[in-house]
C-alpha cells in the first residue's frame, strides 16, 4: 500500500513538473523580484574570477518555451556574431565548462546586462529583463546544464553542433 502511495506521489510530481515545463508565459515578471537594477557593478568584477554564485534560481530553466525563446533571441540579437553557436570565436565559447565570469544564472544575467571587458557590450535597457533571463536559461542549456526535456532540440538550420537537448552536462568549473 505504501508503495502505491509513493508511486502516486511520484506520478503527480512528474505531472506537475510537466506543467511547469509546458507553460507558455507571454507576460510576467522575471525570476528574481528586483533585477532591473543588476547586482553586479563594474568595479567588482575581474576576469578569471566569478562572483560568489547568487542564490537566484532561474525558474525559466524549467520552462521549455522560455528556453526556446532564449534560443531564438540568441540568434536574433546576434549573440552568434561573437559566440557562434556556443563554440566561441570572437567571444568565449559557451558550451564548455569554463565560465570566466561565473556560470550561475545570476552571473550570466549580469554579464549580459552589464557587459564585460574586452568586447562584451552592455545590453542594459536594450533587452527587457524577461528576455535576459530567457537568454540566460538558453546559454546554460548550451553546456547541458538544463533538464533534457526542457532543453531545445535541433533548429531548422545547418547542423554544426549538437542540439542542446543532447549536450553532455558540463557543470561550471569556476
Amino acid at each position: 500500500m505504501k508503495r502505491l502511495y509513493f508511486i502516486v506521489i511520484g506520478f503527480v510530481a512528474l505531472l506537475l513538473a510537466s506543467c511547469e515545463r509546458e507553460q507558455r508565459r507571454f507576460q510576467q515578471g522575471a525570476p528574481s523580484t528586483d533585477t532591473s537594477q543588476s547586482h553586479a557593478s563594474m568595479d567588482e568584477i575581474y576576469p578569471g574570477g566569478a562572483r560568489p554564485p547568487s542564490n537566484v534560481a532561474n525558474v525559466y530553466e524549467e520552462n521549455a518555451y522560455m528556453v526556446s525563446e532564449g534560443k531564438r533571441l540568441y540568434e536574433q540579437y546576434n549573440c552568434v556574431g561573437c559566440h557562434f553557436h556556443g563554440g566561441g570565436g570572437i567571444g568565449p565559447p559557451l558550451m564548455d565548462a569554463d565560465w570566466i565570469y561565473g556560470g550561475e544564472p545570476q552571473n550570466i544575467h549580469d554579464t549580459i546586462v552589464e557587459g564585460r571587458p574586452n568586447g562584451m557590450p552592455s545590453f542594459r535597457g536594450k533587452i527587457p529583463d524577461q528576455q535576459v533571463w530567457e537568454i540566460t536559461a538558453y546559454v546554460r542549456s548550451m553546456s547541458g546544464l538544463l533538464r533534457k526535456d526542457v532543453a531545445p532540440g535541433r533548429s531548422d538550420d545547418m547542423s554544426i553542433k549538437k542540439p542542446e537537448e543532447s549536450q553532455k552536462p558540463e557543470p561550471p568549473k569556476k
Partner: protein
C-alpha cells in the same frame, strides 16, 4: 426596399473587402464565375436528390408490398443519373483546367515584382530593385498600381504561412526552403484585406495585411516617398523620441533607415506613419493604439515576439511623437 433587403442579405452572407465573391482582379473574377456555375449546378443536384428522397418517403411509406417489378426501370434510372453526373463532373473538370490556366500562368511582361516573406506573425514586403538604394522594404501593407500585373515571390523565414487576399486571387503557401511565384492584378483602386491562411502558431489569428491598389501616379508617389530614409526629427520632443527608440529594446529588432537602428527581426519602421494599420493589420494606426501596442503588446497579441515595454510617460510621449513623424 425588397431589393435592398436582398442585397443586404447577400453582403451579410458573402460580401466585403475580404471576400471570395467580391472579385477585384481577373483571377478572382474567373474563380468567382466558376464558383457561381458550380453553386447553381450543385444546388440543382441537391434539390433533385432531396426531391427524389422525399418522393420515395411520400409514396412508399404507405406501400402495401415491396415492389421488385420495376427494378429494371430503376436500374435504367440509376445508370442514366450516374451518366449525367459523370458529364457534369467532366464539365467541372474543364472549367477547372480553364480556370487554372487563367489564374496560374505567370504574367511577367512589364510586371512589378514584390517579394513577400512570412514571419511569425507579420509580413515583410520588399520591392526589389537592381540599385540597392532603390529597394523599398515595408511591412503588412502592399501598394500596387491598378491594372498592372504584380508578380509575387513568396518565401518564409520560420514556419509555413499562406498568403491570401481573397478579392484578388487564391492563396499561396509560404514554405521554408521553397520560393514560389504567382501574380495578382487589381482592377479597381481600393483597399483589399488579406490574412494568413495556414496555421502558424499563437498569433495566426492576427496576421493580416492590406493590399492597397492606387492609380499609377499615386503609386509612384508612394514609392518615391518610401525610398527616402526617415525624416530627421524637427523638434526636441521628437529628437528625444529618437533617443528613446535607440536606447530601448526597440532598436534590437527594428530598422529605421537613416538612424543606427538596422535590425531585421521586426518590421521596418522607416515610414511607419504612412501605414494604415499596426501589428499586422490588427489595429488602426492611431497614436492611442500605438501607445497601447508599445506598452502592452502581449495583451493585444499574446505570444507575439514583441515584448511589452515599460517606459516613463515622458519617454513614451516623445517616442510616439517621433514615430508619428515617420511619414
Amino acid at each position: 426596399m425588397k431589393h435592398s433587403a436582398f442585397s443586404n442579405l447577400g453582403s451579410f452572407l458573402l460580401g466585403g473587402n475580404h471576400s471570395v465573391t467580391s472579385p477585384a482582379s481577373p483571377q478572382a473574377h474567373q474563380i468567382n464565375g466558376i464558383w457561381w456555375l458550380m453553386f447553381w449546378v450543385c444546388g440543382a443536384a441537391f434539390v433533385l436528390t432531396m426531391l427524389s428522397m422525399a418522393g420515395a418517403i411520400w409514396r412508399r411509406r404507405k406501400a402495401i408490398e415491396v415492389d421488385h417489378a420495376r427494378d429494371s426501370r430503376r436500374a435504367a434510372f440509376v445508370a442514366l443519373a450516374s451518366g449525367i453526373v459523370v458529364v457534369v463532373l467532366f464539365v467541372f473538370l474543364v472549367a477547372s483546367a480553364v480556370g487554372m490556366k487563367k489564374t496560374e500562368y505567370i504574367e511577367t511582361r512589364n510586371a512589378l515584382t514584390i517579394q513577400i516573406i512570412g514571419h511569425q506573425w507579420w509580413w515583410e514586403i520588399i520591392y526589389n530593385d537592381p540599385v540597392p538604394s532603390q529597394i523599398v522594404t515595408t511591412a503588412n501593407e502592399i501598394h500596387v498600381p491598378v491594372g498592372k500585373p504584380v508578380l509575387i515571390l513568396t518565401s518564409s523565414r520560420d514556419v509555413i504561412h499562406s498568403f491570401w487576399a481573397p478579392n484578388l486571387n487564391g492563396k499561396r503557401d509560404l514554405i521554408p526552403g521553397y520560393q514560389t511565384a504567382f501574380w495578382i492584378q487589381a482592377d479597381h483602386p481600393g483597399v483589399y484585406r488579406g490574412q494568413c491562411a495556414e496555421f502558424c502558431g499563437h498569433q495566426h489569428a492576427h496576421m493580416g495585411f492590406e493590399v492597397i491598389a492606387d492609380p499609377a501616379g499615386k503609386y509612384e508617389q508612394w514609392k518615391a516617398a518610401q525610398i527616402l530614409p526617415a525624416k530627421e526629427p524637427e523638434d526636441d520632443v521628437k529628437r528625444h523620441g529618437r533617443e528613446v527608440f535607440l536606447s530601448h529594446p526597440c532598436v534590437m529588432c527594428h530598422t529605421i533607415r537613416g538612424t543606427d537602428a538596422g535590425s531585421r527581426v521586426g518590421p521596418d519602421l522607416t515610414h511607419l506613419a504612412s501605414r494604415g494599420t499596426i501589428a499586422a493589420g490588427t489595429l488602426k494606426n492611431t497614436t492611442g493604439n500605438l501607445a497601447g501596442w508599445i506598452m502592452n503588446s502581449q495583451s493585444i497579441k499574446p505570444g507575439n515576439h514583441m515584448p511589452s515595454m515599460s517606459l516613463q510617460p515622458d519617454d513614451l510621449q516623445a517616442l510616439l511623437a517621433y514615430l508619428g513623424s515617420l511619414q
